[in-house]
């Protein structure tokens, strides 16, 4: 789910800023994500080769594990998306995010070349440190092939050069990210079973029935491992959230951005909520789901979920204002999200062209501290006057 939101954000960005950073934009895998969602619109015109047929997302297809931990090459987009809170030996909090995307291209499947770019692998990683005051982040992209970059079917096993995420037989994930200016080595151990979102893992993204994805989360992952910065290695532990989502459909044309939150609550519950915003900030679609430690799952329909900005933060870098403190109402419950630090903006205009806010937040339920999570705000960047 979350990635769809994010894609919408990138799309907005690429539309509005396309002219300015045209020279760099297509270098990034992120931009391909955006393009991937809109391929269907633009592949008319002259075509000299066969276009691959991709699978649609349909309702009432049950998710099967461990098969669905693995990749689904028949679908256009897929991602494994980990966010979480860490604690240093000095009890200082850190936030982190690790994402691997797989994007199927329109490249002719008849091309026998081992270089044929049937799938692209794209990865993002970020580290939030209140002491540093801003986000450290890095990304990578490559075509699937030669054993240098791949996803595998049957289990989570994603690799992109020296970045990888691997799910072991016992369900524990191992991941290592050698970013430009930091390195993450984590083990993520699940404490609960996968949380199937929306309708048993069929997650609607808009008013149209085809606007949907397959989506499950693994909340309450116990993190242990180390973070390396400036050659200094620190042992960390913490709690994380993993999303795995795949789809072929595209966004609603009215969508310009998304607000998403995934939170591990102290009582063992898990909360996920998002809204898709239209041009005037209006709600195009919304959803929330809460799973109790007992396994009881509560779904909220779009009209039961509302997002209300409480405090904004202005980025002078990108001249963009984000509602970094948000109040979410699910039916009668009021949740307030407060950021670990204000500046968790990811500004990669010089490389990917993407600008969004993604950061660690603390969560209160009806005014009482309830847990910690990650908030993602996309599509807020100001349109440039052309």
């Amino acid at each position: 789910m979350r990635a769809v939101k994010r894609n919408a954000g990138y799309f907005a960005c690429s539309c509005k800023q396309g002219g300015r950073h045209a020279g760099f934009k297509w270098l990034s895998g992120t931009a391909f994500l955006v393009a991937a969602l809109f391929l269907a619109f633009f592949t008319a015109g002259y075509v000299l080769a066969e276009r691959p047929q991709l699978s649609p997302v349909v309702r009432n297809v049950p998710l099967v594990f461990p098969r669905d931990f693995g990749a689904h090459p028949g679908f256009r987009n897929e991602w494994w998306y980990v966010t979480g809170w860490l604690e240093t030996p000095e009890k200082e909090p850190l936030g982190f995010q690790i994402t691997f995307f797989r994007v199927a291209t329109e490249h002719d499947r008849a091309n026998p070349s081992r270089f044929a770019p049937r799938d692209l692998i794209i990865a993002h990683a970020a580290l939030s440190d209140p002491a540093a005051g801003k986000l450290l982040h890095d990304q990578k992209s490559a075509r699937d092939g030669f054993g240098l970059a791949y996803t595998t079917e049957g289990n989570t096993n994603v690799k992109l050069d020296d970045w990888f995420m691997l799910r072991e037989e016992n369900g524990r994930y191992q991941t290592r990210i050698k970013a430009d200016n930091f390195q993450l080595d984590f083990s993520l151990t699940p404490a609960q079973s996968p949380m199937l979102q929306d309708l048993n893992g069929f997650s609607r993204k808009g008013p149209q029935p085809e606007q949907a994805s397959y989506y499950y989360s693994e909340p309450h992952l116990r993190v242990s491992g180390k973070v390396t910065r400036d050659g200094e290695e620190i042992a960390v532990k913490g709690i994380a959230w993993l999303d795995h989502e795949w789809s072929t459909a595209y966004l609603d044309p009215k969508a310009v951005g998304w607000d998403w939150v995934g939170a591990n609550l102290d009582d063992g519950s898990a909360l996920m909520a998002f809204q898709i915003r239209g041009k005037d900030g209006s709600k195009v679609w919304a959803y929330a789901g809460i799973r109790e430690p007992s396994g009881q799952f509560t779904r909220f329909e779009p009209d039961q979920v509302s997002f209300e900005p409480q405090r904004t933060w202005h980025s002078t870098r990108t001249n963009t204002t984000y509602p970094v403190q948000i109040q979410i109402q699910t039916s009668t419950t009021v949740w307030v999200l407060t950021p670990l630090m204000d500046d968790q903006e990811l500004d990669s205009r010089q490389s990917t062209g993407a600008v969004y806010w993604e950061g660690a937040v603390t969560v209160t339920r009806d005014g009482k501290p309830a847990g910690r999570g990650y908030l993602e705000l996309t599509g807020y960047v100001e349109p440039l006057s052309l």
Partner: protein, 855 residues
Amino acid sequence: MRWRNKAMLARWLLSGEWQAHKVQSGVAVLAIAIGVALGFAIHLINTAAFNEFSAAAHSLSGESDLEVRGPQATIDESIYPLLAEHEDVELANPVLELDVALPTHSKERKDATLKILGLDIFRASVMAPDLIGIPAEDKLFDVLADDAIFLSPAAMEWLGVKQGDILNLSVGTQTVALRVAGGLRRARAGQRIGVMDIATAQWRFHRLGQLSRVELKLLPGTDKAAFKAELEQELEPQSQYLVAEPTTRETRVANMSRAYRVNLNVLAMVALFTGTFLVFSTQALSIVRRRHQFALLRVLGFTRKQMLGQVLWEGAILGFVGSVLGLALGYATATSALHYFGGDLGGGFFPGIKPVMHFDPAAAIVFFILGVGITLLGSAAPAWEAARALPAPALKSGSEDTALARLENPWPGLLFLASGILFTRLPPIFDLPIFGYLAVAQLLTGGIILMPPLSALIFTAVFRMVQHASHARPVLTTALARLANAPNQAAIALGGILASFTLMVAMAIMVTSFRVSVDDWLRHILPADLYVETAASGDTRGLIPDEMKALAETPGLVRVDFFRSSKLMLDPSRPNITLIARPIDISEPGNTLPLTGESIPVAQLPKGAIPIWVSEPMVDLYGYTPGKHVTLPIAMPARTFIVAGVWRDYGRQFGAIQMRLADYQALTDDLLVNDAALWLEQGVAPEQVIESMRQLPFGNALEFSDPGQIRALSLNIFDRSFAVTYLLEGVAIIIGLLGVAASFSAQALARIKEFGMLRHVGMTRRQILGMLAIEGGLLTALGVLLGFVLGGCISLILVFIVNPQSFHWTMQLSLPWRSLLSVALMLMFLAAFTAVASGRHAVSGNAVRAVREDW
């Protein structure tokens, strides 16, 4: 005070001299200017073209630290992941680089190929970000498309396509249609390249599993040399990979055109060299003319040093003005030449590129120093003479020729000739015939130095003969008497013309020898009646076995020979060599190959050895002498071959190897062929065969040519590549003639008194002019004669030393008698005409006054 006085004195003396002899000084300045201009212009153009060419070549390899490639055009892609995951490698960038043929129906681009790079954008965007295609705003995925190509602006213009158009390319007998998806991030002006996805390139151009190279970026802090050595050792067992630094690529590019560039620069020096002699003759004659003045100045108190300084100062100013003019002229010439003709001066080494001119201060300083230097050199001997002269005798009239008496000493000239001959025995330096060129300069200088004693000797002999033989030819006798008794002034006048004519003779003989040899060679290598090729050139040509079969079964053929040619890299720092596989009759290889020298008869070949025949450069560059066992990396494992003979090849300067097609196909999996030679049945017209071949399914992709066409085309290319040579020769001759005109007119003016006296004793003006014409004609005749001898010797050096050392090919000597004779006659006529024209003024003066004239 002191320097002001000195400067004033020098200025007075200079301005007086120059005002009185504007033409002569002007010619000397012009000669220097033209020499400097030509040298500077050629240097600028070559440098601009070469820099642009290597920058373009460099831009194709981006920022890599090392690259892994193979001896053949491509390597197996399986090496790529090994390199990508290799310790210390930060990034491995796989590249498939192809020269892809354009469909043959585009006549104006015949033989043209487009350089296409197949890249993985995710790797290349880091290694060579300039080479990234820019897709349309709404088609970002075109950079990965299976049907798209991105073209540099120059390529789009050249091909006449724009974004969104379809570009047709030839692969074998097929046509591949690609969508022009956009431009490139940054391409060099004039650089014609296309970029596409590497998978698409492999697929569309039938290069599945192949890469041209893998470029490596090492982790920061890695010891490159150590890494290279280690990697070489790791890859060694496979013996099909070469690890090279990107600079090696530039070395290769430099090596490719170096001989050509050096030769062109040397040729430009010829004009400057001719200018030196002109300065020498101008200054020498000016000093003879001013002998009295200098003697007077010496009497009045000029020291020897002052005298020497004065003359050198005059020379330096001529050189300064000439050099500055020359630099400006050269810069202007280079700029306009680059603008109108691009950077290719005819050698064909720098096609298509649009170099940008940069003023090169270092080169300008070098050429300036060269210009002033040679002027000083030309002035040195006359200045020395002026300083050495004893003032008292010099004040007397009639001693002009004694001033030049020193010139009659033949020893320096003989010394030059001897050292020149010695130099011809020395080997090349850095693959360049440095000593060959020096020998040419030595012979030329020696010849010119020997001109005065030789002309004294010859004219004295002729004078004696004429004196005995005739009584009633006062004009001829007077002319001969002067030439015999005062040979030095006359000989000096000839310095320039002798230099330029000698060089012209030498170049003409060399070019003719070359052309005749090429023509003979073309006849030898084109024995068939008709030639067929696919997609004119490039890496993507080829006929598959079925197509070969269909061709061979066409009615009306007696014999069909198929050829397979491919590129092979034996040394990463040298340009690729060509490997040609074709049917060769092992018992009579001379039937197919233009063999030179010894070859090993079939009976003496070791049993089981595979014979190859190498072109002459292979012997020079790689030491492939007949009988040698060599390893060629064309098969796995690498096989050993024996060099069975050497053949002459004017087509491939960097080396070529021929082997039997059967051997080649047995060793490699490569069953494609590029070309076919067809022998027709008696009475079958080529048109019939062409007609039936056109009917074949792939008939449209075939290109037919008869040997005549190929010969005409080749000779046309040959002539074009020597066009600049002809131009430079012409300029040298014109400078020489200007020198003759200047010195004749100066001498005629100096001889006003003599003419007045002759008029007094009863010579008519017509007779005096006749005498001048005879003098001019005879002198030029001698110059031409010497020019023939000297030029002949120099041409031997060019043909047998400079060419084999520069280009590694030999040729047989041929003399262009007719054209040389006509140029010689024309020169004699022009010289006589010049002598008369310059004498008219002197003869027209008042004869009585002329006798009284003391200066």
